[in-house]
């Protein structure tokens, strides 16, 4: 039924930042357009932290409520996406903290996991061609290396490679500077390379 929703053409043509300005002025449709643009982006972003469809969906929804609540303090000269991701990140970290699971799930689980139709995680290699199996094993080995990283470094990896965000945007999301993020990313890659030489057979 949502496919039939009539979207305001003006809103669709506006930039994110223009929509935020309109939202500050009381334009409810501006928020609706921002939700349409980013809801699945935010949902997947939260999913990387939470690994739970329902929670990620709830937090995606909550993120936009927070966008509304904080609309007056959005600086339209800055980009909307890092700002909204920052809100989603804080909500996700709060949720993890609330669940007393500050450390994210093992990335090894990440590498080997697949989801069935119900969204449940399961592990299987049945029926996978050899080449794919080798790739999967290589990725599992890589994920094991990632598990040696501290939480902040793993978050950088998630944002940089899983979310494909630039160092500048990551800096805005985690409240750091572009230079600091780049330095950390550099160290992470260097560390992974050194560790990979130790477990060369796996990679």
């Amino acid at each position: 039924m949502h496919a039939n929703r009539v979207h305001c053409v003006d809103e669709v043509q506006k930039t994110d930042e223009e929509l935020m300005v309109a939202l500050r002025g009381g334009d409810r449709e501006a928020l609706a357009e921002l939700v349409r643009r980013y809801q699945n982006d935010i949902f997947r972003f939260c999913l990387h932290y939470l690994r739970d469809f329902e929670l990620a969906r709830e937090l995606a929804q909550e993120t936009f409520v927070r966008v509304y609540v904080a609309r007056q303090r959005f600086d339209e000269t800055r980009k909307f996406r890092p700002w909204v991701l920052c809100i989603a990140r804080n909500l996700s970290l709060n949720e993890l903290k609330r669940k007393k699971s500050v450390h994210m799930e093992s990335l090894e689980e990440y590498a080997s996991a697949a989801r069935d139709d119900d969204g449940e995680l399961h592990r299987s290699s049945d029926g996978i061609p050899d080449q794919e199996l080798m790739e999967q094993e290589r990725r599992e080995a890589l994920a094991r290396l990632l598990d040696f990283l501290d939480g902040e470094s793993r978050e950088i990896v998630i944002l940089r490679f899983f979310q494909k965000m630039s160092a500048r945007d990551i800096a805005e999301v985690v409240g750091s500077t572009e230079g600091a993020v780049r330095t950390r990313l550099h160290r992470i890659l260097k560390s992974l390379r050194e560790k990979s030489l130790v477990v060369k057979d796996h990679l």
Binding site: N40, E54, V69, L107, R139, L142
Partner: protein, 532 residues
């Protein structure tokens, strides 16, 4: 040598992944790759790792459905909007003359422009990096499929987790807003510091202290000390037949209770018209007002009062309510005293009366003006007295309001502990309403802050009351209120910061005179209304 080249390839890879490898960098990478098989191997490894990492990331979201929360979000914000009774301070200021009335219009307007720029630059959410150009950063919106995968039932009802989260955010935002040297940190100890010679206090002294107070809590202590008469000086002021009744009210605050009461009765009798703030000052002389200690940094308003004091206080309240029947604060004060006397039914009736009203005020501006007159009558220059009273306006009222809320909520907790959650709930809800009324009527930032703090305290009581219960609707309402309060705190935080910047921006005597007059006439929340 190898390390340097190795760093080159790593950096280059990072940049190439972002698609922003410069020509020079690309050339450097090409040279490095051509020169070393080892670097080529490293580079290939890094490319492979980047690819694998992206594949790992893609795997976790594999099978994730498309979601559509547009309607749910809009319903949630509609509820939030409905509860934002007093959302933005900028939208709530009273009608008042604009900056056009100010003599030094150019100076003031320039200051406002600079300040508003600073607010945007250094706002709570405003990072300090150079601004990025405005452009569309949004991804192209994917086409809306005819049928979305709806594996998750739409349920936007906040559960206890959402309420916890909202309350946590509320605490955090309030802590950030208050993360500046507080006017309330030293409520009695400042009297131990040496009093200045009032006649020697200059406007520049006051401004300098106000500027220092942006980062130095001791500056607030010195400002308060500067603005507090010693008992002997206060006695001289009240006994001077030339001083106005309002100056007597201001000076009486520094007299012993009995003496203050007599002079306040005299002052009220001499007033041409009823001034409720004087009646409230009279009523508060019955309060014991113990000084906070390290062991007990905060106390409840009626702590230490005897039964006869409470009854005398209620008598004054009755007279005051005749003069100002629409002020819900008086209902709250009455309820607090009645609860202390064990008259729960009477207290609940007073709180029910409170619920039906729109406004609550502790008369902060009237009290600030009476302090100005008292200081001037005690020998301080007119401009110093005005400046000093303006910068401290509302701070005493903040303490009184929060102490009252604490008193009410403690009574609620006592009823809760006695197995009477219904009475507790009525008290908590009325206290929350009081906070809304105070914020809604605030013209001073201190009053607004008090209203917000009262709401926050009451919400904590309600949250604890709802914990473990099955009151989903109530928790949802509370969550919405908490989020609306976060919005108010954000607005107030920006306002407080811009006020600090206003003082830090400097100005000449004319500017300070006009600013202090503006604050004492209309409150500090409206000083940035600059439209002519």
């Amino acid at each position: 040598m190898r390390d340097r080249e190795y760093d080159i390839t790593l950096d280059a890879l990072a940049d190439s992944l972002e698609g922003k490898l410069s020509e020079a960098q690309a050339a450097e990478v090409r040279d490095a790759l051509a020169a070393s098989a080892e670097i080529r191997a490293d580079y290939l490894w890094l490319q492979g790792v980047a690819h694998d990492l992206e594949a790992i990331g893609a795997q976790v979201i594999k099978g994730a459905p498309e979601i559509d929360v547009v309607d749910a979000v809009l319903r949630a914000v509609d509820r939030a909007a409905a509860s934002e009774k007093t959302v933005h301070l900028e939208e709530r200021k009273p009608a008042r003359p604009s900056f056009a009335l100010w003599g030094a219009v150019a100076l003031a307007a320039a200051a406002v422009v600079v300040i508003m720029g600073l607010v945007f630059e250094f706002g709570i959410f405003g990072p300090s990096e150079p601004s990025a150009p405005v452009a569309s950063q949004g991804p192209a919106r994917p086409p809306v499929p005819d049928e979305r995968v709806a594996v998750i039932p739409p349920d936007e009802t906040p559960g206890s987790g959402r309420l916890d989260d909202a309350m946590e955010q509320l605490e955090r935002e309030l802590a950030e807003t208050l993360d500046t040297p507080s006017k309330h940190a030293d409520r009695g100890g400042f009297l131990a510091t040496a009093a200045p010679v009032l006649g020697n206090v200059t406007q520049d002294d006051v401004v300098a202290l106000r500027q220092a107070a942006v980062s130095d809590p001791d500056a607030w202590v010195r400002l308060k000390r500067m603005a507090t008469l010693d008992a002997a000086t206060a006695a001289e002021v009240v006994s001077n037949p030339e001083v106005s009744p309002d100056a007597i009210v201001g000076a009486a605050a520094s007299l012993p209770d009995e003496e203050a009461r007599q002079w306040l009765v005299t002052a009220v009798g001499r007033m041409d018209q009823q001034k409720p703030y004087a009646g409230l000052a009279l009523a508060t002389t019955y309060m014991a007002q113990p000084a906070p200690t390290a062991e007990q940094p905060a106390f409840a308003l009626f702590d230490g009062m005897t039964e006869s004091d409470l009854r005398a206080f209620l008598s004054e309240m009755a007279a005051l309510q005749e003069a100002d029947p629409e002020n819900a604060l008086l209902d709250a004060l009455r309820a607090g005293a009645l609860l202390r006397l064990g008259d729960t039914d009477g207290a609940l009736a007073a709180l029910a009366s409170l619920q039906g009203k729109d406004l609550a005020t502790a008369y902060g501006l009237d009290a600030a003006r009476s302090r100005q007159l008292a200081l001037a009558a005690a020998g301080m220059s007119e401009e110093s007295a005005r400046m000093l009273s303006a910068v401290l306006a509302g701070s005493d009222q903040y303490n009184m309001l929060c102490d009252l809320a604490r008193d009410l909520l403690q009574s609620g907790q006592a009823h809760e502990a006695q197995g009477d959650p219904d009475t507790a709930r009525q008290i908590y809800e009325a206290t929350q309403r009081l906070g809304e009324q105070v914020t809604g009527n605030a013209v001073l930032s201190e009053e607004s802050l008090a209203g917000i703090d009262i709401q926050r305290m009451a919400m904590e009581g309600l949250e604890a009351l709802y914990a473990g219960s099955d009151l989903a609707g109530e928790m949802e309402r509370l969550t919405t209120s908490a989020l609306a309060l976060v919005s108010q705190i954000n607005s107030l935080g920006g306002m407080l910061e811009s006020l600090d910047q206003l003082f830090l921006g400097g100005g000449d005597s004319s500017f300070w005179n006009q600013l202090s007059e503006q604050i004492l006439q209309f409150g500090d929340l409206s000083v940035f209304e600059s439209s002519p």
